[in-house]
Amino acid sequence: MNSNLSDPAFWSRFQFGFTLTYHYLFPQLTMGLAWFLVYWKWRALKTGDEKYNDAVRFWAKIFGLNFAVGVVTGIPMEFQFGTNWAGFSRYAGGVIGQTLAMEGMFAFFLESAFVGALIWGEKRLGPRHHFLAAVGVALGSWLSGYFILVTNAFMQHPVGYKVEADGLLGISSLSLYLLNPWAWVEFAHNQMAALVTGSFVVTAVGAFYALRQVHSNQSRLYLRAGTCAGLIASLLVAFPTGDQQAKMVGRHQPVSLAAMEGKFQGGSLAGVAMIGQPNVAARRLENPIEVPGALSFLAYGTFQSYVHGLDEYPVDAWPDNVELLYYSFHLMITLGSIFIVLMAYANFQSWRGRLQSSTWLLWVLMLAFPFPYIANTVGWMTAELGRQPWLAYGLFHTRDGYSKVVSNGNTIFTLIGFIGLYFVLGLLFLFLIGREIAHGPDEEAAIDSRAEVITAGAKEQLA
């Protein structure tokens, strides 16, 4: 990143990066958790077992808080396209505006029409419609993800556009634009990553209750669903989706791939660095420990494949912060690998029936939930830093995109405002979520509905 502190583009990037990174902490859980709610609601309909409804009621509260923060932090994102990136909006608005508008029309309306019903409306809706509300919310949140990722995919790999007479972009084919191959791969990769976050959070709460020996029925439910979905999602996020994403970068943004890997010199039998620190001035990776040939194989399919190095490109075509890009990518890969191992082991213990009793594993699962958030964040940093110095890859430079009429004074003012507001919002969110989790799921509903058939003694046991 060009960190010249009087550069307006820097401050607009800083603000957008900050508000977007913060915002995305919430939708990734929304998108991950939504399908857990659908699953439990469906099980409740099928089996009539109240424990599933108890789980939905509890998680719907967490979902609701998380959704609300996601909505309020998301609305500024849409407007910042115009406020801070007027140059880009003027240039590409005719194309990216299509998906920004479609996200509103097709996804947000669906999602927010039903989210109130999902959280507050169980008594008004009845079980079947309540289930449908859960499906509506889940579909809406994933659809919204798709439209936004199409927008991002256009910035990564522009397709379906044409340059109009006035030099601005217009859309030439909606289907090409919406079915951008980059968007499909990115969507699959990103949604699996959101599921990883959802699974780890559900698992962590299950582990927390198991360790405290409270809510044992609910705890078992969360651990089972969380670890099972967690393993599947952790595997899918690496293969095939992450793998395909890397190949896509290798094909269309070879210079970004070189920077992600800290490859200053090109060559065949290129290795993947497990450890190493890039020294951009000296153009080398220091203290590297490499797996030879792995990069050639992963990016292009054979060990002999030639991988381009940064040296083959002029410096002004390099991503403008090679170091941060390198670390983001490596952190993502490392965390992703750990997730697979952890979830595989948890499932193995679960299969042997020993998950509830392996105290140290429960501790690890309980404490692991922040790491998918980190992995998602650094994954997005990899995508966005790797795209630099372009705003729309190969078409439009980031330095041309910011709003010329907005002074640094204004941008820094709003940035400070966002930092203050979001800090308070974060404290509030953690406090309330912590309180909900400490309170735990209400299992009284279950007791009430069975009260006719069970004796007072059994009632005490359940409680």
Partner: protein, 349 residues
């Protein structure tokens, strides 16, 4: 084609104002019509589950604006920079206060969030009013179609204007009273008991106050933009808007008189819509008027996206709108009738 899209984008904004306007209004009246904690929960429950659904119309509007009028979006959003962020921050506070206020059953906690709720709704009504005033008055657009505006300059309506001047402040006051009356009418429809009775009293007085303010605003607008009426009388949509205003005013009066709450509230919605239709039609085709030199004003024709982009948007937009309407019918049916705190509240402890 471009005129059609002007109508569509205006329609989305009108729907947003009508839907979220009731929340701003009810949110402001919250301070005076609800006296006990239970009564306050009643007001929140009347807004409760649907506020985010109303708010996404603003997002839908913003997104559609980028798609069909990208150059306007670029110019206006960058120019209104600080005002827009103030609105966004108030929207954040408003949403958060609804969501978290209900989570803890504690006097202090709820008192605090009730205050934030009222305050942010008040600011939103005033800011949106000032924004509407700015659109009517114009902004200091230069020949490149750019402008940047301070909060205030010398409170005059010509030349290098600021966000606030005597005209935009009066529109803000008008919006405040109008939305409070709208929200009051909504609370009458949705609540029972003392909140209902107090809301009815407030709504009556507020609607009475709207009448002289409306006269004043019309006169002021004529002073600020003497060029508008001459063009507006040839625009049929302007007449349609006025017709809607007159019809809904009559209905509103009869609804309030006879205590037909649904009729009064529907009329209130149409009254707001009618006012906005008249205003939107009167300024067309100019979307941003330049107070520096009128020939630099941005018209819908100058800021529209390419013909192909508009054509493509005309294919999917009606589908999206039809779906949104379907959800609206479904949700409105489910939430018809008075709210009950017991049934519609979040379970707090």
């Amino acid at each position: 084609m471009i005129a059609t899209w002007y109508v569509i984008v205006s329609l989305m904004l009108i729907i947003y104002v009508v839907l979220d306007g009731r929340n701003f209004g009810a949110g402001m009246l919250h301070a005076v019509v609800a006296k006990t904690p239970e009564e306050r929960r009643q007001v929140i429950a009347a807004i409760g589950p649907l506020w985010s659904w109303h708010e996404v119309w603003l997002v839908g509007f913003g997104g559609t604006l980028v798609a069909v009028f990208p150059k306007l979006m670029a110019s206006a959003f960058a120019g209104y920079y600080l005002a827009l962020f103030l609105i966004l921050w108030c929207l954040i506070l408003r949403g958060v206060s609804i969501e978290v206020g209900g989570h803890i059953n504690d006097r202090l906690w709820q008192a605090y969030w009730d205050f934030v709720f009222v305050f942010s709704n008040f600011l939103l009504a005033v800011l949106f009013g000032a924004a509407a005033g700015n659109v009517a008055r114009g902004v200091p657009l230069d020949a490149n179609g750019d402008f940047s505006m301070a909060f205030f300059t010398n409170f005059s309506v010509r030349g290098q204007v600021g966000l606030l001047d005597w005209y935009t402040v009066s529109v803000a006051i008008f919006a405040f009273v109008l939305l409070a009356a709208h929200g009051g009418t909504y609370l009458v429809l949705k609540t029972e008991g003392p909140v209902h009775d107090r809301s009815a009293t407030y709504a009556r007085y507020l609607w009475l106050a709207v009448v002289p303010l409306f006269g004043a605003i019309s006169l002021e607008s004529w002073v600020v933009r003497p060029d508008l009426p001459g063009r507006a009388i040839y625009n049929p949509l302007c007449w349609l808007g006025l017709l809607v205003v007159i019809a809904s005013t009559t209905t509103l009066i009869s609804g309030l008189r006879t205590g037909r709450e649904l009729r009064a509230f529907l009329a209130s919605n149409f009254l707001l819509a009618g006012l906005l239709i008249t205003g939107g039609a009167a300024i067309f085709p100019v979307m941003l008027y330049s107070t520096l030199s009128p020939q630099d004003s941005l018209t819908a024709y100058a800021v529209a996206a390419s013909h192909k982009s508009l054509l493509i948007a005309s294919i999917w937009w009606p589908i999206g709108f039809a779906l949104a309407t379907t959800y609206f019918v479904f949700i409105s049916r489910r939430y018809a009738g008075k709210v009950s705190v017991k049934r519609d509240n979040q379970g707090f402890y």
